[in-house]
């Protein structure tokens, strides 16, 4: 029975991926991509990866989905992908098809016959008492492999800088001033604290159960995005130093702490066992804040891009 459910999910995921890429219009493409993401999240929940399922649903389907929908406004062909005229020739399509087919056969054989390496489950479990947290995924993310996580917090900040680079200058967008429904504003005001509380709860939960910095960050980021949409320019009205402090706090404090331990004779990111739990919580909170700030700023930038047709923004190309 359970094999059937899994097979169905797997087939559905493949089907949605194909349909998504063959979708005749861009909005359809985006919605099928949503569906694909949610199917993957379900598959991950089935595979016992609840943290990953939450991360996928929240960041990959949720946040990226919002960006994709926002981007749809720009693409004139969104009604139809209209690829008929400039499709690649049949010969090259045939070549690509044949190549991918060969690739698929080799890939399936490889995946089918992967030797069982045994993974690191036992090792991760054995060292859990020394990690300062009780949830194994959090232990990997913030202790065993905290270096990766640190770089990843940085990548979100770099993506924001990269976004600025496309326009040639640093630019925190103000929301478009248009009549926002007062009722909507009230609802947003009501919802924001709830989002923050639920985020904080998820963050704290990460110590023992699925949840943690990234999931919390998305909820906080969602709060920031709602405020932005409601006409409160979260970033644009902030003092620049505060804005930068928020954006860099996670990445920077993480590093500062690492340097401190190193000065004390340890390795980078080597937490003393007694304080590990507390320090991890602090690092997680700051990382979540920074990611949420970066996500809000990324969304604001996207939102500002589409508003530019009304109020042209001149990129600094000399």
């Amino acid at each position: 029975m359970s094999l059937w459910i899994d097979s169905l999910l797997a087939v559905l995921a493949v089907f949605l991926a194909v349909r998504c890429l063959l979708a005749p219009t861009l909005p359809q493409c985006v919605f099928l991509f949503f569906a694909f993401g949610l199917t993957l999240a379900l598959a991950w929940a089935r595979l016992g990866a609840v943290d990953v399922a939450i991360a996928e649903a929240a960041i990959a389907a949720g946040f990226l989905g919002v960006l994709l929908i926002d981007a749809l406004r720009d693409f004139s062909r969104s009604r139809s992908t209209g690829e008929g005229g400039d499709r690649p020739s049949r010969v090259s399509q045939g070549l690509v098809g044949a190549g991918v087919l060969v690739f698929l056969v080799v890939a399936i054989e490889a995946v089918w016959r992967v030797p069982n390496g045994g993974g690191l489950t036992a090792l991760a479990a054995d060292n859990l008492p020394q990690s300062g947290v009780d949830h194994p995924v959090t232990a990997v993310l913030l202790n065993y492999r905290s270096y990766d996580t640190w770089l990843e917090v940085g990548v979100v900040l770099m993506a924001l800088l990269a976004l600025f680079a496309t326009g040639g200058r640093e630019y925190f967008c103000r929301p478009v001033v248009r009549a926002v429904d007062p009722l909507l504003r009230q609802v947003i005001l009501l919802f924001t604290p709830v989002l923050f509380l639920v985020g904080a709860f998820l963050l704290y939960l990460g110590k023992t159960e699925p949840g943690g910095a990234f999931q919390a960050a998305v909820l906080w980021g969602a709060g920031g995005i709602l405020l932005h949409l409601g006409g409160w320019p979260v970033f644009a009205s902030m003092a620049p130093w505060l804005r930068h402090l928020l954006l860099t706090a996670g990445f920077g404090f993480f590093l500062l702490l690492g340097f401190l331990f190193m000065a004390g004779g340890g390795a980078l990111f080597e937490y003393p066992l007694a304080q590990a739990g507390l320090l991890i919580l602090v690092v997680e909170t700051l990382a979540a804040l920074s990611i949420a700030a970066a996500l809000t700023a990324i969304f604001a930038y996207f939102n500002g891009m589409s508003a530019e047709s009304a109020e042209p923004f001149t990129p600094a190309s000399s």
Binding site: G117, M158, G258, A267, L268, E270, S317
Partner: protein, 511 residues
């Protein structure tokens, strides 16, 4: 592996540039440039004690978080990594100085310089992290850091052409890293470890290993712009701002080449065949000829230089058929390994210095004349003598004329080719040099030709020209310590023995 001497310097090589980048974000344009330059020079300075440490103690490591592999991530600074880090430090340092003066001169570019400095420092930290990492997944994160920052820098000019080239670059980079990551997933599934050293010992041949080898190699080849996956490089490198073109061509593509080298020599020993090495060699040989020919056909200086990068990267790939041994050949008897490795390392360094210099010179010409069409080169010797000199010197190194670093690299490559009796690679090496000579001499001929009258020449700060010249001369100076560098490298296991497997490392966590 884990009982090697530990050193905090290893972690600082990644941490320090990031710390400076973060601090710089708090400043406005002027202060940001100052912090950025300070951070760049600091990172350059940091490379020296790190290299000395390796020279004294041999390979040094850093167990991040105090966790040993396979659970934790190990940073390893061995002589090969030290040479790459040293090259990045020297070339990156001079490019930073150039960028400092370039952005002061081109102040019209608005906020560009404010974004350049933090992105460049993040990129540098990513590169250092890449050279140091001994963990396959961590390598994925570092190539993403490098990829995102590199594309962001490439589009900094904000012009449509650079944005289009940047998107093409970014999509190729993302697809490449996804291929790489798929391989990582399969390797982790088959061995339960991500550590390069442990993997080399634990990996068994089979379809999964072979497939991982194929997707990871292809993924990294896209990112290194190896023929025939080089399509994104020329437009992206040619459309970027001059200091950015220089660091993209000289440093960024070397990062993924380095991973490729590590994977082939330290991880995939069991599933490599002689034919696989030959295949990569063919890609390299075609790249050398095709890239040089394309360079000859271009009519803009930056495009010539960018296509030349495709060719020069091809030489790097031609090392692979030499270090993958034919069945039945023992590594001890393969006396061509040392020249082959020397060729790889020297080609990386010589191309790094010479190509950076070339792009910086192209930038100077654009400042002076407003464009970089071939006609801009006319009468260069009289107009910008120092830049003409830099181009000539860097060009000689690219061709591979003695006594340049490029000559030494190509000479060693030929030596390795003949010692291993794979003479069929020799025509490509020589042909590439002839074609390179073709476009370099074409540039020089124009430099001596009289200019059309009435073309105003804007003044260019001397400092910019000095930076380009220093790098060009650097591509010669690297030959002087050749003996020391080779000796230094020979203490690394892979350097002397080709495809190499390690004894089983410690498989324990923290105590």
């Amino acid at each position: 592996m884990t009982d090697l001497p530990a050193s905090p310097l290893v972690a600082l090589l990644v941490g320090v540039p990031i710390a400076f980048a973060l601090v710089s974000l708090f400043f406005r344009t002027e202060g940001r440039a100052r912090t950025g330059l300070l951070g760049s020079l600091g990172t350059t300075a940091l490379a020296f004690p790190a290299i000395l440490e390796v020279a004294r103690k041999g390979t040094v490591i850093h167990l991040l978080g105090g966790w040993a592999p396979p659970l934790g991530i190990l940073l390893r600074l061995d002589p090969l990594a030290a040479v790459f880090i040293g090259m990045t430090a020297l070339v990156g340092g001079v490019i930073s100085l150039y960028a400092w003066w370039y952005f002061r001169k081109e102040a019209t570019a608005g906020g560009t310089s404010a974004l350049f400095w933090p992105l460049w420092l993040f990129l540098w930290a990513g590169l250092n992290g890449l050279f140091l990492s001994n963990d396959l997944f961590n390598l994925f994160v570092t190539i993403e850091v490098v990829g995102i920052c590199a594309v962001a820098l490439a589009v900094l000019s904000g012009k449509a052409a650079s944005l289009i080239a940047g998107l093409r670059y970014l999509l190729a980079a993302i697809a490449g890293s996804m291929g790489y990551l798929f391989g990582v997933a399969l390797l982790y599934g088959s061995t339960g470890t991500l550590d390069i050293t442990l993997l080399g010992a634990a990996l068994t041949p089979g379809p999964a290993t072979t497939f991982a080898l194929i997707v990871m190699t292809l993924g990294l080849m896209i990112k290194t712009a190896c023929f025939p996956l080089h399509f994104w490089l020329p437009p992206a490198h040619a459309a970027a701002l001059p200091p950015v073109s220089a660091l993209l061509s000289a440093l960024v593509v070397k990062g993924t080449f380095y991973i490729l080298l590590r994977l082939w020599t330290e991880v995939f020993g069991v599933s490599l065949t002689f034919a696989a090495g030959q295949l990569i060699g063919v890609a390299g040989a075609v790249a050398v000829l095709w890239g040089s020919w394309q360079a000859l056909m271009q009519d803009r200086l930056k495009l010539i230089v960018a296509h030349s990068s495709v060719a020069q990267l091809g030489y790097l790939l031609m090392v692979f058929p030499l270090i993958v041994l034919a069945p039945g050949v023992a590594a001890e008897s393969a006396n061509w390994l040392s020249p082959a490795w020397t060729a790889a390392v020297y080609q990386v360094m010589a191309h790094g210095f010479a190509k950076a210099s070339f792009f910086l010179s192209a930038g100077i010409i654009v400042i002076a004349l407003g464009h970089d069409r071939k006609s801009s080169l006319r009468d260069l010797v009289a107009r910008l003598p120092m830049t003409a000199m830099a181009i000539a010197v860097a060009g000689v190194s690219l061709i591979g004329l003695p006594p340049s670093g490029g000559f030494f690299a190509k000479w060693m490559l030929l030596k390795g080719i003949f010692m291993s009796e794979q003479w069929w690679w020799a025509p490509a090496v020589l042909g590439g040099s002839f074609l390179t000579a073709g476009y370099v001499f074409m540039i020089l001929r124009l430099a001596f030709a009289p200019a059309e009258a009435g073309q105003p020449v804007r003044p260019v700060p001397k400092a910019l020209q000095v930076c380009a010249l220093v790098l060009a001369i650097g591509s010669f100076l690297i030959v002087l310590p050749a003996d020391h560098i080779i000796q230094f490298l020979e203490s690394t296991a892979p350097f002397a023995t080709g495809v190499e497997t390690y004894p089983e490392g410690g498989r324990h966590g923290n105590d």
